[in-house]
Symmetry: C3
Subunit: 371 residues, 3 copies
Amino acid sequence: MPVLLAPPEAPLLPELLREANVVGLDCEIAAFHEPMPRIRGLGSLLHAGETEISFLANPKLADQLAQCRAAAVILTPEAWQTLSDTPPTWHVVLCSQPYLMYALLAQWFDRHRIANLPTGIHPSAVIHESARIEAGVSIGPHCVIEAGAVIAAGTRLGPACIVGAGSVIGADSLLHARVTLYHGVHIGARSILHSGVVLGADGFGFAPMPGEQAGAWAKIAQIGGLVIGDDVEIGANTTVDRGALDDTRIGNGVKLDNQIMVAHNVVIGDHTAMAACVGVAGSTQIGSRCTIGGASMISGHLVLADDVHVSGGTAITSNVSKPGRYTGVFPFGEHRDWQRNAAVLPQLAQLRRRLRRLEDAGPAAGQAKDS
Amino acid sequence: MPVLLAPPEAPLLPELLREANVVGLDCEIAAFHEPMPRIRGLGSLLHAGETEISFLANPKLADQLAQCRAAAVILTPEAWQTLSDTPPTWHVVLCSQPYLMYALLAQWFDRHRIANLPTGIHPSAVIHESARIEAGVSIGPHCVIEAGAVIAAGTRLGPACIVGAGSVIGADSLLHARVTLYHGVHIGARSILHSGVVLGADGFGFAPMPGEQAGAWAKIAQIGGLVIGDDVEIGANTTVDRGALDDTRIGNGVKLDNQIMVAHNVVIGDHTAMAACVGVAGSTQIGSRCTIGGASMISGHLVLADDVHVSGGTAITSNVSKPGRYTGVFPFGEHRDWQRNAAVLPQLAQLRRRLRRLEDAGPAAGQAKDS
Amino acid sequence: MPVLLAPPEAPLLPELLREANVVGLDCEIAAFHEPMPRIRGLGSLLHAGETEISFLANPKLADQLAQCRAAAVILTPEAWQTLSDTPPTWHVVLCSQPYLMYALLAQWFDRHRIANLPTGIHPSAVIHESARIEAGVSIGPHCVIEAGAVIAAGTRLGPACIVGAGSVIGADSLLHARVTLYHGVHIGARSILHSGVVLGADGFGFAPMPGEQAGAWAKIAQIGGLVIGDDVEIGANTTVDRGALDDTRIGNGVKLDNQIMVAHNVVIGDHTAMAACVGVAGSTQIGSRCTIGGASMISGHLVLADDVHVSGGTAITSNVSKPGRYTGVFPFGEHRDWQRNAAVLPQLAQLRRRLRRLEDAGPAAGQAKDS
């Protein structure tokens, strides 16, 4: 259930449009009845209620307008002209970019919610005397800020966040509840970290023990750091390990979804986005503006160029030097069909040999084969 | 090591059977020696100790009865009759459904353990004055309950749970330690949430920036909710995101294992069960009574019918409209064999063309080919 | 950014080498200028600064020595002899095993950091009166130690760890911030547990409900334990479930990376190592000294022998009785190529039939086919 503003907090429609439209989109109310409604929330065409605003961004959904009960709907002048003459029950807001206007409205409602959260430093937080807490920082209940940590101005920590010794969080960042930074982790300004995120845990580094202890593992202490740029968002329960010796590095504007694992010494370029459940093994370098589909796996010690796009569920096991889209997913099917076909896979090399032999022997030899 | 009751707490065998058997199974002690034992725990045939009760549900394990040291064993009258004449050292409990009786006993021991946990509201919990805490609620140390949250009667929160503003937890639920609910999350009655669960984090929604900032991403604020039904269990470190605009919705009786990721706007029907490490991408609808095998991946914007069963490790990349079992897993093998066969995969389309050419050219043309 | 010691804490080079070299490697300073430097940290050849020590372990990196700005470099006498006559700016440390010496130095710096962490029991920790806290234990802010738990001597708990009722942690272990142990979990000495780890949550056990409630699930209460050996390391956000009835068991020296899921009743042999994002389904037994590559999936109720090595991204779906390396990964490629080739997979069995028919019909029949 989407969260609605209480009526006294809800802005009048023109007020909301003016405040949300921080980029100066063309946006005009073609109102046809008084009084102006107060808008308590934002909803889709099918689900917006009588105190909410909605939008038509995808022309395929125009049919839904007939059932829409919203107080107001944003749509393009073109879409508006194609509609029937019956005046709608909702206020008409004309805008050349309804999807962008929706994004601005959603941001407005979320900013409004955040602005109403408690501020200040909760007395149950445990803050080391050597930590530097700048102006306008909010720290929730049961947070722990260790020695020498720095929380820059305007940053907000939800309940139970832990900031390890010497870690630094840039200005105007938002840490939701229960984010964990180990020691010596640096993250830039305007970052958003979700619950359960763990930044700077030890990378997985072990050397085989020699001699009598063969079979056992010696830990390689992980003494590198973790440096994350500005405007980075990291989803719930994602983990990014510290470097073994040099730093793990994540560029500006990188977006990581939930439950991603980034191993030690990985380098990720600016504005690369990864969907949930991706794993990136140690020391791999991923370029800028890449997109990595959900549940993909990138092996260690690889280099992926800028503008590489990996489909979901794909295992990248060698370097990718050319921009483009890459895929490697076993197609699913009904179980019995899959069984029949999968049974042939262990014979593929043999099948190829048999085909070649036929080609060499057959009447069409020299003509049929092309490799 | 299974947890055992201290001797004074341990019930006599008849008492235990009576209290556990809440569904009225036929269940009778064919005792052959006094005194009645006190039962401190429940164990498998091979590992149950002299103060524990065990059971024979799978006839293949009947051989293990000879070595069983348990105080009592539950088995069917039929299994009992096929055993040798030597009287066993254990008390005999005859029951037509030993596996169900085992489940009831396990529930009894777990209920007993939970009933002995500390109750009340720990003074270190931080509870907003506007939150509603109903009768019989227990709240562990270092919990945080934010403004307007509701915890219904009989619900128990382990240590360090966080319930965001306006979230609602139904009656008689059990939150283990360290569960995180963002704001505006609703979960029904009798739910069980395990440690590290994060409910209601932002979905992964970004729009490409236009113009000079091309390459960067604009956040789509996620202002939808998350609504979860009754009798739902969610495993450790699983994450379920809130909706972008409408709600993410999980039906009644759904069971999610550990480390599952459910993205924004997903809808899951009643009684669907998912094994660990599954990922479900945004806006996908999964029917009722489905089972999804471990480590499967369901792409976004799909519809899966009711009663669809997906094998572990399968990537579902298109709609599934027919009930049944679906699979798509690359068969593993010895590394060298795999290498040889996998090398042919990038030539499959070409192999098919070559085969077709042979069919067209060969003496059996017109007869051999069937597609 | 790697963490550097403050100058007064930084040891002189000979002092550092002596203290770090706990195994008595041959290690000699071939110094050529005074004064001896104080060493504040350890870095790679390219990134070590003027107060850091570096090492040359891989001969392929010898070219980097020319640009190295480190205070000192460890290398073999052989590597040293092949270098040019120009005296380097760095102090020369000769050692027959530079990589092992690096590991020892990294351990020294990490031990030094840990030794400077706060000790004692933080007043905000909530510790049950029946818990046993042995000598030299440190417990961070907001920890919760429940009834009957035991924390053995010398163990350190970071902030916000939770140790459930009756759980036992062996001596000299290190729990980073926010580790969760359910009740009745045993872990041995010298273990290292990273943030977000959840040990002993319920396994995923449900039985289909009979009769009128068909389609719904009955919970099988998970009353087994979880027993973990000595010298085990478990990475961030990894989960290991308790047994249904018997215990889940993890051997000595096992190393688990981040975001691994080990299900109920799994048994893992000594010194087995698993990379990140692996899932092991219920009741599977994995031998000793195995290595499991990242994002692999092991099905339930299997037996894997000792010394089995599974490549990353592989689904193991049947028993593996022979040591060796096993793989099953769909090779990735450019999306269009993949599409073309993947489309043939549902026809593989048919392709084999067609090939067989050609072999039977063709002039080379009897000679061409080999299966």
